[in-house]
C-alpha cells in the first residue's frame, strides 16, 4: 500500500505538456463537485430568508437577512408537540445515536472477529457464515420482531433500545475478520511468548494495528447511525429522544396545522445535521492517509 503512495510524485516530474485527457478528467471532477455542492449551498442561501418568502418564491439563490435568526430559532427555540425540544437537544441525541452506533458496532464486530480468527472454536467458520448471512436480514426485514422484543424488554424510549438492537454488524465482523487474517501469525506467537494473554494481545497489539480499519468503519457506521430514521421513529415516542433527522421532518410537518411551515428553520437544521458527518470524515481522513503511508504491518 505504502509503495503506491510513495511512487506517485515521480510522475509529476515529467516534462510538461498539455494532456487533454487530464483536462477532461478535471472537467468531470469539477462538474461532479459542483453538482454535489449545489444543494447544500442552495439550502444555505434559502435558509437566510423568512418562511413567507420561501413559501411564496421557492428556493433562493441570494443571501437574505434571516440567516442568523433562522439558525438561532432552529437550534434554541423549543418546538415540537410538547414545546420542550430544541435543536441542541436533537443534535445531542443524534450524536449519541451516531457515536453509540459506531462504537458499539466496532466493539462487537472486533470481538466477534477476534474470536473467529484467533480461537480454535469448534464451529468458527460456521459461526462466521451465520453472521455473514445476517446481511440478508437488514432491519427493515425484521423490524416487527425487533420492535416486539424491545417493547417487551421495556426499552422503548431509551437510548439502549435505540442503539443496542442495531449494533450487531456482519459487515464490520467481515472486515475485521479479513484484516485479522492478514496479520502475520508470528505476531500472535511472539506476543504469546512475551507473556501477553489473549486480552492483552487484543488490546496491546490488534487494536492499535487495526486503527485505520477502525477509523474507516467508524466513519461508515457513524453516518449510518446518524441518518437512522425508521428505527428511532418506531422505538421513541418521547420527543426528548428526537434526532435531527426527525426534527427536520417535524418542522415541515407542521404545515398540516394550517400555518406556513418554517422552511428556513428546517433548512438551517438540515445544514446543522450535515456538519458532524462531514466533520468526522474530514477528521478521520488524516488517519486514513497516515495509515496508508506508514507501512505498518
Amino acid at each position: 500500500m505504502a509503495d503506491t503512495t510513495l511512487e506517485t510524485p515521480a510522475v509529476a516530474h515529467r516534462p510538461r505538456k498539455i494532456r487533454w485527457h487530464a483536462i477532461g478528467d478535471h472537467l468531470v471532477l469539477i462538474l461532479g463537485s459542483l453538482l454535489m455542492i449545489l444543494p447544500p449551498l442552495l439550502a444555505l442561501t434559502t435558509a437566510s430568508h423568512d418562511a413567507v418568502t420561501i413559501h411564496r418564491e421557492g428556493l433562493q439563490l441570494t443571501l437574505g437577512d434571516d440567516l442568523g435568526k433562522n439558525f438561532h430559532a432552529a437550534m434554541f427555540e423549543k418546538g415540537g408537540f410538547t414545546q420542550t425540544v430544541d435543536g441542541t437537544l436533537m443534535l445531542m441525541n443524534s450524536l449519541i445515536l451516531g457515536i453509540g452506533f459506531a462504537v458499539g458496532k466496532i466493539v462487537i464486530s472486533m470481538m466477534a472477529a477476534y474470536a473467529i480468527v484467533y480461537f480454535r472454536l469448534r464451529f468458527a467458520t460456521l459461526a462466521f457464515w451465520v453472521i455473514f448471512t445476517t446481511l440478508l436480514l437488514p432491519l427493515e426485514v425484521r423490524i416487527l420482531p425487533s420492535y416486539e422484543a424491545i417493547q417487551k424488554l421495556g426499552l422503548t424510549n431509551t437510548y439502549t433500545g435505540l442503539i443496542v438492537p442495531l449494533i450487531a454488524s456482519a459487515t464490520g465482523t467481515f472486515f475485521f475478520r479479513q484484516f485479522f487474517m492478514s496479520v502475520p501469525e508470528e505476531l500472535a506467537e511472539a506476543a504469546r511468548i512475551d507473556g501477553a494473554g489473549p486480552w492483552k494481545f487484543f488490546i496491546d497489539i490488534l487494536v492499535p494495528l487495526s486503527r485505520t480499519m477502525i477509523a474507516a468503519i467508524f466513519i461508515i457506521m457513524f453516518v449510518f447511525g446518524w441518518n437512522q430514521y425508521l428505527w428511532p421513529t418506531l422505538i421513541t415516542t418521547d420527543e426528548s429522544f428526537f434526532t435531527l433527522v426527525r426534527g427536520i421532518k417535524q418542522i415541515v410537518l407542521s404545515y398540516t396545522d394550517g400555518q406556513i411551515p418554517e422552511h428556513g428553520q428546517a433548512l438551517a437544521l438540515a445544514i446543522v445535521a450535515m456538519i458532524p458527518p462531514v466533520a468526522i470524515v474530514i477528521f478521520f481522513q488524516n488517519w486514513f492517509v497516515k495509515g496508508l503511508t506508514e507501512s505498518d504491518k
Binding site: E186, L187, E189, R192, I193, D194, D204
Partner: protein, 348 residues
C-alpha cells in the same frame, strides 16, 4: 541456563500428517545446536514444539529438570526469534524489546535499564525510539535479538532468523549471534536450511530428513563422517561425490578401475562410494580417468564438473593448479573415501 531433553517426541498434525517421527536427543547446557534439513523436513515443527507453539503429540520434553509438555510458552523461560522477526509494528524499538518484561510485571525502571543494556549490546541505542518500519533489515533482526536477550531466558530458539538478509549481512549477523550466545552462555536451538550457517555456528548439528533425524554430531563429524548419503549430499557445497562402486575381494572398484582402496569392511557387492571434491587431486599418473565438461571459476578455487566412469563427478582444485577441459587423470585420497550401503544409504 538449561539442558533440554526430548524423549520420543513425535508430531502428527490434525490432518494426520506425521511431521516429526519419534526423536530423542539432549541439548547440553549452554550448547548451540543447529537443526538443519531441506524444506519441509520438520525443523520448524520441532522447534515450535519446544517453544510450546505446537502441541506435542507424544513424548516428553524437558527444559532444565521440568517437564514442560503442558506449560504455556510464556512460562517455559524461552525466547524465540522468528524468520520475519514478528516485531510489533506500532511499537517503538524500546517498547518492542521491553514488552515481554512489562507483561511479566517488571518495574518500569528496571525495564528501562535492561532495554538500554540490550540495546547497547546490539548497537541499537540510536534506534530505540524508531518504529520497526523505519529500520533496515539488519536492524530489525537485531531488535528481534534484543527482544530475546533482554529477558535472559534459559533457552533461545531461532527459526531461520537470517534468511531475509542479504548474503553479506547474513555472514556478519551469523558471527554476531554466535558471539552473543557464547558470551551469555544461553542454550540455543537454531533452525536453518543453510548448511553453511549450520557448519559455522553449531556446537552440534542435527540433520533432519523427512521428519527423521539422520545424524547428530559436531560440524566436523557431520562433514567428514556423514552417517548417510543424505547427509553427505546435503552438507557441504559442493556436496560430496556419490558414485556407484563395487567391493570385490576386499577391494573397491569403480566400473573397471581396480584397487582404488582396500574396503574397510567385509562388505561385498555394490556400494555407494563417497568422496569430497577437495579430497581429489589432478595427477597425470592417477589411476582414474576423469572427463571434465564444465570449469567453474570461484576465485580461490576452481570447480571441475564432469564424469567419472559415466557418472557425474566434481573436483575442487586450488586456483594455482592448472586445469583443462577434457580428459584428466585423478587420484582419490584413500583416507577420504567413504562407503555407503546402496540400498539404505547408511554408512558402512
Amino acid at each position: 541456563m538449561a539442558q533440554v531433553s526430548l524423549e520420543g517426541i513425535r508430531k502428527v498434525y490434525p490432518n494426520g500428517f506425521q511431521a516429526v517421527e519419534a526423536t530423542d536427543f539432549t541439548i547440553r547446557d549452554g550448547e548451540f545446536v543447529v537443526l538443519v534439513g531441506p524444506s519441509g523436513c520438520g525443523k520448524s515443527t520441532l522447534l515450535r514444539m519446544i517453544a510450546g507453539l505446537e502441541d506435542i503429540t507424544e513424548g516428553t520434553l524437558k527444559i532444565g529438570d521440568r517437564v514442560v509438555n503442558d506449560v504455556d510458552p510464556a512460562d517455559r523461560d524461552i525466547a524465540m526469534v522468528f524468520q520475519n522477526y514478528a516485531l510489533y509494528p506500532h511499537m517503538t524499538v524500546r517498547r518492542n524489546i521491553g514488552y515481554g518484561l512489562k507483561n511479566r510485571g517488571t518495574p518500569a525502571s528496571e525495564i528501562a535499564a535492561k532495554v538500554e543494556d540490550a540495546a547497547r549490546m546490539l548497537n541499537l541505542t540510536d534506534y530505540l525510539d524508531r518504529k520497526p518500519a523505519q529500520l533496515s533489515g539488519g536492524q530489525r533482526q537485531r531488535v528481534a535479538m534484543g527482544r530475546a536477550v533482554v529477558r535472559d531466558p534459559a533457552l533461545f530458539l531461532f527459526d531461520e532468523p537470517l534468511s531475509n538478509l542479504d548474503a553479506k549481512l547474513r555472514n556478519q549477523m551469523r558471527i554476531e549471534i554466535k558471539a552473543l550466545q557464547r558470551r551469555l552462555g544461553t542454550t540455543a536451538v537454531y533452525v536453518t536450511h543453510d548448511q553453511v550457517e549450520a557448519m559455522t555456528m553449531a556446537d552440534r548439528i542435527i540433520v533432519l530428513n523427512a521428519g527423521r533425524i539422520e545424524q547428530i554430531g559436531t560440524p566436523s563429524e557431520i562433514y567428514h563422517n556423514p552417517a548417510s548419503t543424505f547427509v553427505a549430499s546435503f552438507m557441504g557445497a559442493p556436496p560430496m561425490n556419490l558414485i556407484a562402486a563395487q567391493v570385490d575381494r576386499g577391494q573397491v572398484r569403480i566400473n573397471g578401475y581396480d584397487g582404488i582402496m582396500p574396503a574397510p569392511t567385509s562388505a561385498n557387492g555394490p556400494v555407494t562410494l563417497g568422496i569430497r571434491p577437495e579430497d581429489i587431486e589432478l595427477d597425470g599418473q592417477g589411476s582414474v580417468p576423469f572427463q571434465v565438461d564444465i570449469l567453474e571459476e570461484l576465485g580461490a578455487h576452481r570447480l571441475l564438473h564432469g564424469q567419472l566412469a559415466g557418472q557425474p563427478f566434481t573436483v575442487l582444485i586450488n586456483k594455482d593448479h592448472a586445469a583443462q577441459m577434457g580428459e584428466n587423470r585423478i587420484t582419490l585420497k584413500p583416507e577420504a573415501l567413504r562407503l555407503f550401503d546402496t540400498e539404505t544409504g547408511r554408512t558402512l
